[in-house]
Amino acid sequence: MTTLEKIPSRQMTGILVTIWKRVKKIPPVYLIFLVIIIGVSYLNPNFATLNGMLLFLRRASPLAILAIGQLFVVASGGFDLSQGSLVTLTVIGSALIIYNNEENSYIAIMILLGIGIIIGLVNGVVVSYLKVPSLIATLGMLLLVKGGGLYWTGGAPKGYLTENWRYFGRGFIENVPVFGRFPVAVIVFLIVVVIMTILFHKTNLGKQILAIGDNPRASQLSGVKVKLIRIIAFLISAFLSVVAGVMIGGYGGTSILAGEGLEMQSVSAVVIGGALLLGGKGSVPEVAIGGLTLEAIFSLLNLLGLPKPYRDAVQGLIIIGAVAYAAITSKRRD
């Protein structure tokens, strides 16, 4: 009897073990996201509807895009803390350029993308040629861009963002089968995810970014152009910051606080997405989900009645916790 009973239970555990092995292979960010979404839906039934989800995605897309940009820099071993100030610059700068003239909208975006590219270039050059640690270099750039933006607009938002500019952040495509209305922001998000996934995971560039983040010296001795790659990583981050800026301005309107603190949010999202701070590991889709997860966590905190500033504290805990976890587990390996 006992032996008969044991066999099926052993099979059961066998099945459970294989299931557990499968589950363990799923990147944890998906499970975290799922849990948070369930939590939010429980507290706010509207959230669980198709429309609720789309609205959530519209709101969360810019952060996810910023996080993808941050990933390129983080995977290369650095940080880009100038992202938030560039978002602000994009919003207030565009408003100034457009000045309520719809025809100027796309010119404004082009100009801001140009400025973004210059800022990314300067970040990259300062870090790779002047060897300033990226945290200090990009925090300095944060001051520069923030001060520059405020100087440009005279300290308060001037001008007006037109509807066609704001379309990317808050517009909808009407009469879409199944969905009805589909947010433009989500389309931009999906396009960015696809392009960046290809760039990061399917091209040489992505492999070399991971290589320099892992071991810059060994990479250089294997012919990798470490400085160039680092500069490109900062360029991509700055470019995506402008893209996110257009969406944030579109969604929220013009404000000199539009990008405040977003740089740390994107770093937190990158960490939630399972990338290794200080370089060498990371995945675009997972970090994108990481961005959505962080936004969902904010919704959850909101529903739980915590004041907005506590979001910062939560981010701090996430960042320290993730890095400590990585440090402890890697120590165990040695």
Binding site: P133, L143, G155, P216, I319, I320
Partner: protein, 331 residues
């Protein structure tokens, strides 16, 4: 063969005990350049008006005190990016606790120093025991403090009593109290670093963690103490700031960019980001350089926002002027 191999400045040092850090030459150049700019493009009264000179010093007090603390952690090959929020927390807590009542002053001061010590302890523990990169660790604790601060306290609630404001405005004889405090902190910092076992061990641990361990130093404890000292200086800076403002607000620390500027002035002063070398006198020169630049900008009437731009650029260039020669790749 040996006597020749000792560099000239080394011999100077053994005779005088103190070596003049090269950054002082830079300070002289900046000051002379500033005076010329002032004469050419502004009223040219920096040199003639002693209050402007005193103001340079008073402007430097808050940054100078916390930069001394930053020097400690950086000699230990760590860093503290949470100081700006520790300053804010101190300013807000002090005015909340004092509520304008002179009798509550001692209690409030003790309490904020205790809180500061706890922050330093936590930073130190995260860096040493959890092995988190100090940049990330203190950026994280800074965020946590900022979150709690902004979520809990409103702007300019409470105030400090008049007696406490003496710290910021009164003078002892001809010398403002604030400047005396700055000098006291610098001298104390120099004494601890040069004359105590702790100082010697901090240089050892910062120069090589492994060598420190092999020499039987308590590496973790040394770094934790350095972090506590740094947070305590941030508290002192916060007390000074709130005595000037009369009331605390959560933005006073980050708006003063005390995190980045304390790091930048320390680096200019000759303390390496990689640890093991440097000292507070160099840092003081770095702080004075920033003070002079700030004053010259004021004299020239540079726009506030433009000043932020220059500050960012100066920080980057200041660190770059030391880092670009390094052979190691930065990231």
């Amino acid at each position: 063969m040996t006597t020749e191999s000792i560099p000239a400045d080394e011999i100077k040092r053994s005779k005088l005990g103190i070596r003049i850090p090269p950054v002082y030459y830079f300070l002289v150049i900046i000051t002379v350049g500033g005076l010329i700019l002032d004469i050419l493009f502004a009223k040219g009264n920096i040199i003639s008006n002693p209050t402007i000179l005193t103001n340079i010093l008073i402007r430097s007090v808050a940054l100078g005190i916390v930069a001394v603390g930053q020097t400690f952690v950086m000699i230990g090959a760590s860093i503290d990016l949470s100081v700006a929020y520790t300053i804010s927390l101190t300013a807000v807590m002090t005015s909340q606790l004092m509520q304008g009542d002179p009798e509550r002053v001692p209690m409030a001061i003790i309490l904020v120093f205790v809180i500061g010590a706890v922050i330093g302890l936590v930073n130190g523990l995260i860096v040493t025991k959890l092995n988190v990169n100090p940049f990330i660790a203190t950026l994280g604790t800074g965020l946590i403090i900022a979150g709690i601060l902004n979520g809990t306290f409103a702007n300019f609630k409470g105030s400090v009593p008049k007696s406490f404001r003496a710290l910021g405005y009164e003078s002892l004889g001809p010398i403002p109290i604030s400047i005396i405090i700055l000098i006291a902190v610098v001298v104390l910092g120099w004494f601890i670093l040069s004359w105590t076992k702790f100082g010697a061990h901090l240089y050892g641990v910062g120069g090589s963690r492994e060598l420190g361990r092999l020499s039987g130093l308590r590496t973790s404890r040394t770094i934790i103490v350095a972090h506590i000292i740094c947070s305590l200086t941030a508290v002192l800076s916060g007390l000074f700031i709130v005595s000037r403002l009369g009331s605390g607000a959560p933005w006073v620390g980050p708006d003063g960019i005390y995190d980045l500027e304390s790091v930048a002035t320390t680096v200019i002063g000759g303390t390496a980001l990689s640890g093991g070398r440097g000292g507070v006198f160099g840092t003081l020169a770095g702080v004075l350089i920033f003070g002079v630049i700030d004053t010259v900008f004021n004299q020239l009437g540079v726009d506030t926002y433009l000043k932020t731009v220059f500050r960012g650029a100066i920080i980057i260039l200041a660190v770059a002027s030391y880092s670009f020669r390094s052979k190691r790749e930065a990231a």
